[in-house]
Point group: C2
Chain length 235, copies 2
């Protein structure tokens, strides 16, 4: 936890927040924080700054005085479109993309996405929010990403992709000869396929809608590491 993320509901005064549970335990346990201790804090979807511990109560709750100091770190310029991986991997992808500052993620269905994944309780909004919040705390960011799950590949690509990409280059991650990324400093849309890859039909459909093959090299990475490597390379 590299930042204590404060939610509107935590505030008991304009700049005073009262924490219980996980964050309070982190402060009093791992950080051994008592009154006067300063820690890095941020307001959800707002500025980052400092939290000064004012009080630690007998019930373990911690009262912080928050001072806003700066804007959250700049977001990634990448919009991530990723075939839905197995639920455990999905959370790893959400984690690493959130830590790396991605603010829009869309997980979609393809032929090789197992149907059962969509029924997993790990895809509930609550489960996703938990991973997102832990990831913002890890990355010292405050801005919640927007995460969408979409079934049916064909209408997604035909009817929604152009509106999502908004004329930004659409790069389809595909192991092969190293591709030089677009020089443009602007937004990028990155498409990551399922384990086992896109079908020829799917790849073709993406390409007819403006998708360009993009490779870091010939090596094949597990999804969460592929996403990390691609975001590190593309920014």
């Amino acid at each position: 936890m590299n930042l204590i993320l404060l939610d509107d509901a935590d505030f008991i005064g304009p700049n005073t927040a009262r924490l219980t549970g996980r964050r309070a335990q982190h402060l009093t346990g791992q950080l051994k924080a008592g009154p006067g201790k300063i820690c890095k804090a941020g307001r959800r979807n707002g500025p980052t700054g400092e939290g000064a511990v004012i009080a630690v109560d007998d019930d373990g709750s911690v009262t912080l005085e928050f001072t806003a100091l700066s804007a959250p770190p700049p977001p990634s310029k990448v919009t991530l479109l990723c075939a839905l991986p197995r639920p455990k991997t999905f959370h790893k992808v959400v984690h690493t993309a959130t830590v790396l500052g991605v603010k829009r993620m869309i997980f979609f269905e393809t032929y090789k996405v197992e149907k059962s994944y969509w029924q997993s309780p790990m895809l509930s909004p609550e489960a996703i929010a938990e991973t997102v919040i832990e990831s913002l705390e890890q990355g010292a960011d405050t801005v919640m990403p927007e995460i969408t799950l979409i079934r049916r590949f064909k209408p997604f690509v035909e009817d929604q992709l152009a509106a999502i990409a908004q004329n930004s280059p659409i790069l389809i991650a595909h192991p092969g000869e190293v591709t030089v990324p677009p020089a443009a400093a602007g937004p990028l849309t990155l498409v990551v396929g399922p384990e086992g890859g896109f079908t020829d039909y799917e790849l073709n459909l993406l390409q007819t809608r403006g998708g360009m093959l993009y490779a870091l090299g010939p090596r094949i990475l597990r999804t969460e590491f592929a996403v990390t490597a691609l975001l590190a390379r593309l920014g």
Copy 2:
């Protein structure tokens, strides 16, 4: 498993290998391979190529005819020096660095590395080899990396670092303002600190021995993702 990795001990003829266990199960199970099936294969520390299934025996063993076709993928130019993380994370780091083609890894002790990590059975040569082999199979590579564990930070940096780096730039991963990596196409030595970071003394010692601070940005990644992102950026 994107490549069936063949060991010398598998060969029963000059180009004929007989597989049992995990790889045979992968072929007959996941790939539903019968005689005639061609799969990507490679010889440990040797070429990659094709394996043609000749026979599947009643005991589940699979006989392959191996044809060498090309050199393994080019190695990473990075030598990775990483403070020993918790054992589970250590295996994730070995995995991602191996998949990304790193051929030399050194895990070392620092003040913030928990002493107990060194006693873990997960650090046995057998446990490490298992992760390495699975990672080569994932990355479709054949060349085993050299992995060394080193206690005592000071003599390591003072007496061994220069010989390891051999005049290549030594980059110390350290979150902060984005650093432009050295333009040189040659080898690089990358130093990754422990969770919680190097102490000032350690950082200073590394810097007096030629280490330069290097940052992907202000965000703080978990070790396995930091290593992945750094290797993707540095090649």
